[in-house]
Every structure is written in structure tokens, then in C-alpha cells.
Symmetry: D2
Subunit: 111 residues, 4 copies
Amino acid sequence: MGKEQLIIKDKEQTVIIAEFAIFPTSEGASVSRFVKEAVRVIEDSGLKSVTGGMSTVIEAPDLASLFRVIGQTDEALVKMGAKRIYVDLRIDHRLDKKATIESKLKAIGKS
Amino acid sequence: MGKEQLIIKDKEQTVIIAEFAIFPTSEGASVSRFVKEAVRVIEDSGLKSVTGGMSTVIEAPDLASLFRVIGQTDEALVKMGAKRIYVDLRIDHRLDKKATIESKLKAIGKS
Amino acid sequence: MGKEQLIIKDKEQTVIIAEFAIFPTSEGASVSRFVKEAVRVIEDSGLKSVTGGMSTVIEAPDLASLFRVIGQTDEALVKMGAKRIYVDLRIDHRLDKKATIESKLKAIGKS
Amino acid sequence: MGKEQLIIKDKEQTVIIAEFAIFPTSEGASVSRFVKEAVRVIEDSGLKSVTGGMSTVIEAPDLASLFRVIGQTDEALVKMGAKRIYVDLRIDHRLDKKATIESKLKAIGKS
């Protein structure tokens, strides 16, 4: 199954939209090489994501899928030698209707 | 002075990039009318902003400018009748170089 | 193995300190019955935790243990009928030394 | 007016409870001297506060009072030489009743 199909499948099942940032606080002021690697790991996961100036928004079919990719970004930063890592996460778990990044932006006139 | 000029001026002075969400927790599951109004207030402030699926990223020349617009969004939600309001804010205050949303995205290969 | 022993074991292995809040945004302004249940789930997990006015601080031996208990609090709120759930999480993952809630407070003169 | 009176006055008027962390990401893994100074600034403000393992919870009569003290902690870290500062803030603004840290903890059986 191709990457495009995976994304379509995920979008149909989406119940979780999360906003997520991870960065080391131990490696000096410039940490873009770590953030770049974390974004690469998120994009390789097959989950739909949009990276902005402060974080990445992720659509996931369930919490387990979201936590798996967050764990993988943390592992990636550990492998790169980060000695202290900060994770900042917000989750919007909606049960009353299927929501996506696109449907949320549309609801506020932003798509 | 036009809006475009204001934005250019702000970008030159930018030292603060913030990510900000505000929503009522008292008004039921659907709160897009409140979020829409908060985004309108942010955009009317003249500060550069980008709204995503979970929050709005704002460039501000200083903390006072940022807190002013956050206060205005809170006032707007109070006027709309929200009985309990949640604010979620992260600030990246960089003193070693002028950073913008664009420069941050460029640093991770995303602009 | 008793609960006390479990806690001691966890503290020895602690590499993760997290701060975590979960609440419905769909159930009106008063949500203490949901928060109370989430705190009960955290305390039943065997992980050391301290609940404050806005969130609960948790010590975990690894990310998987932390994510397991967060997933359980989310499930608990779903079972209680919450239609939209918000999760707010920060993680401090330290690899340079074993940190605990107590050691962090001691370092800033607060224990 | 003494400090104790100020605190009592603030508690009567409290509508804002906030959870706040500030730390440099540019100064290496150990930042307790910066956090200690930020906590000192908060405590000198006269606002009621409780410092935990990951953040400080503050009671404020209004947003302006809260933002003033956050601005002061940021200034303090700049003076100490921090080159990049991260601020993490959540605000619970309640209009349906006067809430305090104590009343929130009591509502979930934790005071």
C-alpha cells in the first residue's frame, strides 16, 4: 500500500489532532538540526502532518499511533546526542465527529 | 501607513515568536465561532500571524505587544459570553539573532 | 510487590518527568468529576505523581509508561461520556543525570 | 499595606489561575539558577503562587497582573545573559465563579 493511500486511510479514521514540538535544551541556542530530524521522523510515519513556525500538527487515527511517532522522535534526538529533551504536546480528541486539520481550518474560515 | 508596511516593520524588529490558542471550555464541543473571533482580533492587531489547525503563530516585536493582543482575544471571548476560557501559549524569545516564522521554517528546510 | 516498592523502583529508574492535564471541553464549565477520575487513574498506575492546581506532575521510567497512563486517562473520560477531550502535556527527558520531582525542587531551593 | 494583606486581597478577586514555566534553551542542560531567579521574581510580585516540579501555578486578579510578572521573569533571565528563552503558559480564566488553587484542588478531593 502506497504512502498516499495510507494518508487517505488515516484521514478517514482521524479522531485525534495533535500539536507537537520536541527540542533539546542542552545543545545551545541553535537546534534546527534536531528539529529537522524530528520533522523527518514524523513525515516518515505516514501520518498526515503540517509543520509550522513553532510545532507540527499531526492527524492520527488513535492515541497509540500518535504516541508511537512521538517516541520515535525522542529516540532520534537521543541518538543524535541530546542530553536533555523537552516535549510540548496538545491533543484534541473529538468523539462527536470526524475532524481533520482541514475541517478545523474550514470551520474558522481558514482553508 | 498601510498594513503591509506595518508587517515589514514588525518583522524587522521581531524578537518574539509565539504560538497561541484560546477557547472556551464551557460552551459545548463546537467552539469555532469563538476561535474565529479570536483569530480576527489577532489579525486586526497588525502583528504577522499564521493560523494552523491547533493554534496561531504570532511574530511580535516585544512581549508587551504579544500580551496586548492575547488580552484582547480574551476580552472578545468574555464579551461573547464564554464562562470559562482556556489559554495555551508558548513563547520563543531569541536574543542571539532576529528570528521570524519564515527564518525558522527555512532553517528546517520548510519554507 | 507492594505499591511502595514499585514507587521506589520507579524513582531509581526515573528519566522522564512530565506535567499533564486532561479535561473535556464539551461538558460545561464544571469538569471536576472528570479531572478527579483522571487523577485516580494516574495514582492507580503506580507511577509517582503530584497533583497541583492546573496539572499533575508524573515521574516515569520511560516514555512508554507515561503514554500508557495518559492513554488510560483518555479512555476513562471517553467511558464517562466526554465528547471532546483536551490533553496538555510537557515532558522533561533528561539523559545527563537521574532527575526526580524532588531533585528538581531541591535544585531551586524548594524541597 | 503588608504582603499578607495583598495576598488576601488578590485571593478575593482571583479570576485567573495560570501555570507557567520559563527557562533558557541556550545555556546547557542545567538551568536551575535561572529557574530559581524566575521563581524569586514571581514570589516578590505579591501574587499567590505554588512552585512544582515542572512549573509554577499563579493566582492573579486579572490578565494584566499575570502578564506583568511573566514579563518581569523574562527580563530577569535576559539580564542573567540567557540568549534564547522559552515560556510555557496555560491560563484558566473562570467567569462563572471565583476559583483559587485551593478551591480547584478541593473540588477534586486534593486539598
